[in-house]
């Protein structure tokens, strides 16, 4: 429950998703710990960025939230209603409140349907509009996402990547959901097209006021778009903070490394930055390290041992609204700086 007494738009509590790989129907094989105890809330009208590298489990979170995957454990609350164990039939009316935009605008639109039919389908399925009304609303949403209305009669393959992503947005927003889950919606697009989709998303959010869980690996996009940021690493959240705090004072060594590694389009600034080099690769989610999952790559491992190998640090409130999961961070005690603040400030 949020401060004002109204439920959060979306609340995820201790979400766990393990996949079994190998083995047979009878059992055996091993587990992929894709998501391992993730909790966060999406406030009303908020854009929350969920950031992480490949394999961090961010898309699995999205798919569990959408009920496209069955969570192994945990709860998902949509506007205060627990949707974790609802059947497909029970979910159906609630789907109006929860929509998704996918990464690949090429494979997420049915090639045999015209764009108008694709966008109008949620209205039809939810039996919200009669025929005339449906036409009008499809026209309206096309206009709103910046598509010429004559594109209604075109098929997805006739559209450019950017236009297709607009169709995807129109389809998700036509029933005016309260929660939009966007999984890397601009990653497959060219830079100039990305810009227009990001601007559009910002405008639509201003207009319609939906809450958005925005999943991406791109920090610059998050900083442009999101109010709050949650950083994910190997199935766990390592840091959650308001945008300004996260980018100005990143605490978790992983967040610090991630920010220092992102490239900026400014040669002078870029070349004067110091990077935190992480040793080795992301450990396999099949066999995550004991204790803190970042410890095998952590430049501060010496300082946090032996606690790091024994205990998995929980998310603790380091400053108001700023949560960090690191043994070296406590309330009011910041993590050691891995790079000079001056070079972080460039970001």
């Amino acid at each position: 429950m949020s401060e004002d007494g109204r439920p959060y738009a979306l609340e995820v509590r201790d979400l766990v998703k393990h996949f079994r790989v190998g083995g047979t129907i009878a059992g055996g094989g091993s587990l992929v710990y894709a998501v391992d105890g993730v909790s966060f809330e999406l406030r009303r009208g908020e854009l929350l960025g969920l950031v992480g590298e490949s394999g961090s489990g961010k898309s699995t979170v999205a798919n569990c939230v959408m009920r496209l995957l069955e969570p192994t454990a945990g709860e998902i609350l949509l506007n205060g209603v627990d949707i974790t164990h609802l059947t497909r039939r029970q979910m159906r009316p609630l789907r109006r409140e929860l929509h998704m935009v996918f990464q690949d605008p090429y494979s997420s639109l049915n090639p045999r349907m015209s764009c108008g039919a694709i966008v109008g389908e949620p209205l039809r399925l939810h039996r919200i509009a009669n025929r005339a009304d449906l036409d009008r609303r499809v026209d309206q949403i096309f206009d709103r996402v910046g598509l010429r209305t004559e594109l209604r009669y075109r098929y997805p393959h006739e559209l450019s990547g950017g236009q297709r992503q607009r169709v995807g947005l129109a389809r998700a927003l036509i029933v005016e959901p309260s929660v939009l889950v966007a999984d890397e919606p601009v990653s497959a697009l060219d830079v100039s097209v990305q810009a227009s989709i990001l601007n559009l998303l910002r405008d639509l959010q201003d207009d319609m006021g939906f809450s958005c869980l925005f999943i991406t690996h791109d920090l610059a996009t998050v900083e442009f778009l999101c109010d709050r940021v949650a950083v994910m690493h190997l199935g766990k959240l390592v840091e959650v903070a308001p945008r300004a705090a996260l980018f100005r004072e990143p605490q978790h060594p992983y967040t610090q490394a991630l920010l220092s590694a992102a490239v900026v389009p400014d040669p002078e600034a870029q070349r004067s930055r110091r990077r935190v080099l992480l040793e080795g690769d992301i450990p396999s989610p099949l066999d995550p390290p004991s204790g803190c999952r970042f410890r095998t790559r952590c430049p501060l491992e010496r300082q946090s041992a032996p606690a790091s190998t024994e205990e998995d640090p929980p998310l603790t409130e380091f400053a108001p609204q700023h949560f960090v999961a690191c043994h070296l961070v406590a309330r009011g005690r910041p993590a050691p700086r891995l790079v000079e603040p001056s070079s972080v400030a460039v970001r």
């Binding site: 830079v191 227009s196 610059a220 945008r243 980018f247 991630l258 590694a261 490239v263 389009p265 992301i282």
Partner: protein, 325 residues
């Protein structure tokens, strides 16, 4: 500037498809100095990859290539296939975007790198193994003796890209062409691959052509940048100049389209959009290819192809109305 290592003049590439010709590259000229890192930037379909593939003729038969590409005194485009094989992989080598699809999944890594050495340099298998270990060490792969006997699927994405780079460096090439080498990688891995490329240039003096759509990557490592649009060169400049004083409206648009750190502070700020879309390459327009999307376009832009002109030292722009905003 030293004498160029590679001098490309009026390179054009046309693909003859069932639906008619596609003009992928149109009269492109550029040079590459020894030890230089040249960034080629552009959005998908601008011809940046085709340009580099055409230099060592890795394109399918349907490609009609014209122009000259003089490397070390010989025109690559006029070489016989046999002579070309001595250049390809030995003098000029490639690193591709997706290391998983460019490595052969059924052979061990050591054998794949070793093949380059035995084929090009005539090393014995024993010698090749020795050298392969050295190469893996050069690209900072830990425990190279063990990695040698692993298959590509046993390596992580970053490791695979290092193997690709090791393979490309096997014959100590003069030019390394890296086509989106970090696009498929995570940022922390990208950072270390960029460091590796920088190291290669400094230690071995290899000239690098870096093809990318990421202006941040170019800012990090390139000395000079070439911006391509619809198969033509829009702008070329030393890296610092391009970012501080971009002249072509397309370059200005691209730079404005990237979200930057300070944007977050001002919630009203918008990213710059480039209206319209890339023109079809079915015909060569007798006008500026960017005119339809350009705020500065006028009669002149729509009636003639702008020639490249020098606006500042070493800074070339193909625009009738160049200049900062």
């Amino acid at each position: 500037m030293a004498a160029p290592l590679l001098e490309v003049t009026d390179l054009s590439v046309r693909f003859d498809t069932d639906d008619g010709p596609v003009h992928a590259v149109d009269r492109l000229s550029f040079t590459l100095a020894p030890g230089e890192v040249l960034g080629i930037v552009g959005e998908s379909g601008c011809g940046k990859s085709v340009t580099c593939m055409s230099l060592v003729r890795l394109l399918p038969e349907t490609a009609a290539i014209s122009g000259r590409a003089v490397f070390d005194g010989t025109d690559l485009l006029a070489l016989s296939q046999r002579r070309l094989r001595q250049v390809r992989g030995r003098q000029i080598s490639f690193v591709f975007q997706e290391p998983m699809t460019s490595l052969n999944p059924v052979f061990k890594v050591g054998r794949q790198i070793g093949e380059v050495l035995t084929k090009h340099l005539g090393l014995t298998r024993g010698e090749a193994r020795e050298r392969t270990i050295e190469l893996l060490r050069l690209v900072r792969i830990p425990a190279p003796e063990r990695r040698l006997d692993e298959y590509p699927h046993q390596l992580s994405g970053g490791m695979r890209q290092r193997v690709m780079i090791a393979m490309a460096l096997a014959c100590d090439p003069k030019v390394l062409i890296a086509d989106e080498p970090t696009t498929a990688l995570d940022v922390t891995i990208q950072a270390s691959v960029l460091d590796l490329l920088r190291d290669v240039r400094e230690r071995l003096g290899t000239a690098i052509v870096l093809i990318t759509h990421n202006l941040g990557v170019v800012a990090d490592i390139a000395d000079r940048v070439l911006v391509m649009y619809a198969g033509r060169k829009a702008e070329e400049a030393p890296v610092a100049d391009l970012y501080t004083a971009p002249q072509h409206p397309y370059t200005i648009g691209l730079l404005g389209a990237i979200p930057r750190p300070q944007d977050g502070e001002d919630t009203a700020r918008r990213l710059r959009e480039i209206p319209g879309r890339v023109p079809s390459l079915r015909e060569l327009p007798a006008m500026c290819a960017f005119a339809d999307r350009c705020p500065r376009a006028d009669e002149l832009s729509r009636s003639q192809v702008p020639e490249l002109r020098v606006v500042r030292p070493e800074h070339l722009v193909a625009c009738f109305h160049p200049g900062p905003e």
